[in-house]
Subunit: 469 residues, 2 copies
């Protein structure tokens, strides 16, 4: 289970040549084969090697997506759907070459149904685009994975982020999809009804399928009313254990926190260094509350009492928008801040998620493991969901260090699985975690493989990903 | 698309004889073939004919479920999972005979993880059993489809009910499952983590698969804290339109109603007759609010203002438990109350669900359709979700009336589909709605069929259901 054990996919040179010609003829300038654009459309983040596609196509309609899929199907050539390329798990790499299908020109907002709290968008619309468009409606789309990702990519990877604890993940946010399947046919997964018992849940099958079952061509998404009041704050704790106990009590009391983020002492230090702040350098929770003016005050007071019971505090909170923005900017910059701890290093982000009763134990054991192995790896977590990331800062040219990192990542993933958790809460399987998926779900992977085989018998959609273990 | 066009499944007499012998030898008294027990294990509700299995087996463990599935697989004999038999769509009928697998002896609560707000149960545990067991923990399981159904059956049919508007459906409530697949192998669909990006969503694939993909053998379910305060009330409106507008405003303002149920004038009349009450016989909303003492009062006051704006009211609400119980008993008895409108009739329940912006229109057109065709069909709806039921009271021995009913049901389903909705919000496809599923999702049905073929190539799991269209 070495990090670098990526699945090889054999190149079909003849087929690739034929598809390149077909797409060049059909798409003209909207088909590109230059080195730098191909490099941009392969994996560009963290530690994984860049495996370039042979060409990048920019369709503008479902019919054009069908045309691309059919060309690839006719010649058994890999097709890799591409949103914004912000995946951390090599989802957009092209291990056997082939075509990157860039959805950025499919960026229309097709409908906003304010009364129904839903909208329908093309896959290339980013979450920030959508929220800008919604600004005057009093509605917003909450799912926030950090990056300004495309909504198609977020659906394909079942993305979530800091406010999933209240608003759910893409699993709960996608009402229906259209997708072009491996044979070039278009499928609509569901109606726009809020609930349905109409056959197998094809929507949830495609959400999280990482481009291996179909190319998402439109999404109907659940929206929410912008809360009347928002407040937020930071609360330090003497220990990780105390912070996690405060999280459990908050969730169990049913306080509808919008965000409750755990940041460990090392990560707080990095945030202070990077953002020139002076937060306490002990484990902290970052919180946000949504509701009425009275409601957010009540939530903050209740949380303050919980924190105090755990020896934490003071919990300082504010409803002032600028102060909140500063706080969340610091939290969102945690990824970049981490690099101040080891300039020049490459970062590898882990993504385990455990039942919250095991969160403190899992984080604490991992901190010990990090220390024992001489690694630099600050921790942030979506604590309300039991999901946390360590960003391991490493020298990619030091094989001994890489081996230590690989050992740590394997132990971390297996620790989470042993605690009833998963190796990935939100980043997905991609290229790096197929072996752990097998350890986690066993025979379930064979069921996934049977579905993949049934829906994409030639294996042209994003090969070498997700269910290779 | 006649109601009576059920899919025929050919009987495999030789295989059935062999399986009967195998199960008799293996299960002794826990395998039954008497006429009345077989009749009870086929469809017993509403208008569909009763199609008996050849035998009923009562396994007590996953291993015994595997044994039954393997026997049926070896001889290509249908196997129909059975919970409590409260389905309205013929899910438990045995059109080609075979074995009914009754889960009622798999009724252990395996774990309650209060800190994680989850529990793991065997499939034969009913929702009332579970809530009785949870009583002292301060937690509850909210999904309430009316009947005291088994949790395995509720998952298999993606059940919901009156409080789905706040707590979601079985889709949102099932964290993970184990199931025995058609080849007798056990699959675990997910870890106990609250969120996951670990491969295809097998949990959601099995939820709503109506026993056609696997036999559910355990479920991990999301629980909720019992609210500190609960209040409820009934609010009359001058028109259906006004009641629906009040629903839309309530949802759009983000008032976290736990229940918001629409009852039309005819159904109110039936409720008054049946329960000897004197509610206004105009369209009404039944509401329930969960929260803190102050919270439920605030919600009720806000709703009262919304109702008034729509010309509705007075909205009388109460926090007194006995009064609330009386109110919700009247609402839950609506099904039985309907029969007072036409004693001796058979009832057929429809189940469309539309975007709530179209709810008033869909209900109003359906009322006109009912009147124009001389039918008796009161209406209740889970209005916050856009889901409503008409209970068509008919004489099953009058072919002309049956034809009128069939026409009405077909128009109703197609009306909902045309409005962006579904033919089934919560009752499922079962035997009766396969043709409408095809109208609703088109090529999607072929994708479902490919999945079914991949996972159950012999077609032994609940044949003649769900994806026959």
């Amino acid at each position: 289970m070495a990090l670098s054990d990526l699945i090889a996919v054999e190149r079909n040179e003849e087929g690739i040549a034929a598809v390149l010609q077909t797409l060049r003829d059909a798409f003209g300038e909207r088909f590109q084969t230059g080195h730098s654009i191909r490099e941009q459309h392969a994996h560009t983040t963290t530690y994984l090697p860049n495996q370039m596609p042979d060409g990048v196509v920019f369709p503008e309609s479902i019919e054009e997506v069908q045309q691309v899929v059919r060309a690839c199907a006719a010649h058994r050539v890999p097709l890799i759907p591409f949103g914004t390329g912000t995946s951390l798990e090599g989802h957009v790499n092209a291990p056997g070459g082939g075509i990157s299908l860039d959805t950025s020109r499919m960026n229309r907002i097709l409908a906003v149904n304010a009364e129904d709290l839903d909208c329908t968008v093309e896959p290339g619309v980013t979450r920030e685009d959508l929220n800008r468009h919604l600004r005057d409606t009093g509605l917003f789309f909450p799912i926030d994975p950090g990056a300004n990702a495309s909504l198609g990519g977020m659906a394909a990877t079942r993305a979530s982020g800091t406010n999933a604890v209240r608003y759910g993940t893409m699993r709960e946010s996608v009402i229906a999809l259209t997708a072009v399947m491996a044979d070039g046919e278009v499928v609509t997964t569901a109606s726009r009804a809020k609930k349905s018992a109409a056959g197998y849940d094809l929507t949830r099958l495609l959400v999280g399928s990482e481009g291996t079952l179909g190319v998402i061509t439109s999404l109907t998404l659940r929206l929410h009313g912008i809360p009347q009041a928002i407040s937020g704050g930071v609360c330090p704790f003497p220990t990780l254990e105390a912070a996690c106990q405060a999280v459990i009590a908050t969730i169990q009391m049913g306080i509808p926190v919008a965000r409750i983020e755990l940041v460990n002492a090392l990560q707080m230090k990095a945030i202070n260094l990077h953002s020139k702040l002076d937060y306490p350098e002990s484990p902290c929770l970052f919180l946000e509350f949504h509701g009425s003016e009275a409601g957010v005050a009540e939530q903050a007071d209740l949380f303050g009492m919980i924190a105090e019971e755990q020896g934490g505090g003071p919990f300082l909170w504010t409803s002032v928008a600028e102060e909140r923005s500063k706080l969340w900017k610091a939290r969102h910059d945690a990824y970049w801040a981490s690099f101040t701890l080891r300039p020049g290093a490459k970062g590898l982000s882990t993504d385990v998620c455990v039942p919250i009763s095991r969160l403190a134990e899992c984080v604490a054991e991992s901190e010990v493991d990090i220390a024992e192995n001489g690694l630099v790896a600050p921790i942030v977590g979506h604590a309300g969901d039991g999901n946390f990331h360590t960003l391991v800062l490493m020298d990619p040219d030091d094989p001994a260090e890489i081996a230590r990192v690989e050992g740590f990542v394997a132990r971390l993933n297996m620790r989470a699985i042993a605690m009833g958790g998963t190796c990935t809460g939100e980043h997905g399987i991609g290229q790096g975690k197929a072996g752990f998926l097998r350890r986690e779900l066993g025979h379930g992977v064979d069921i996934m493989r049977a579905i993949k085989q049934a829906l994409d018998p030639q294996g042209i959609l994003n090969p070498g990903k997700t269910i290779t273990g």
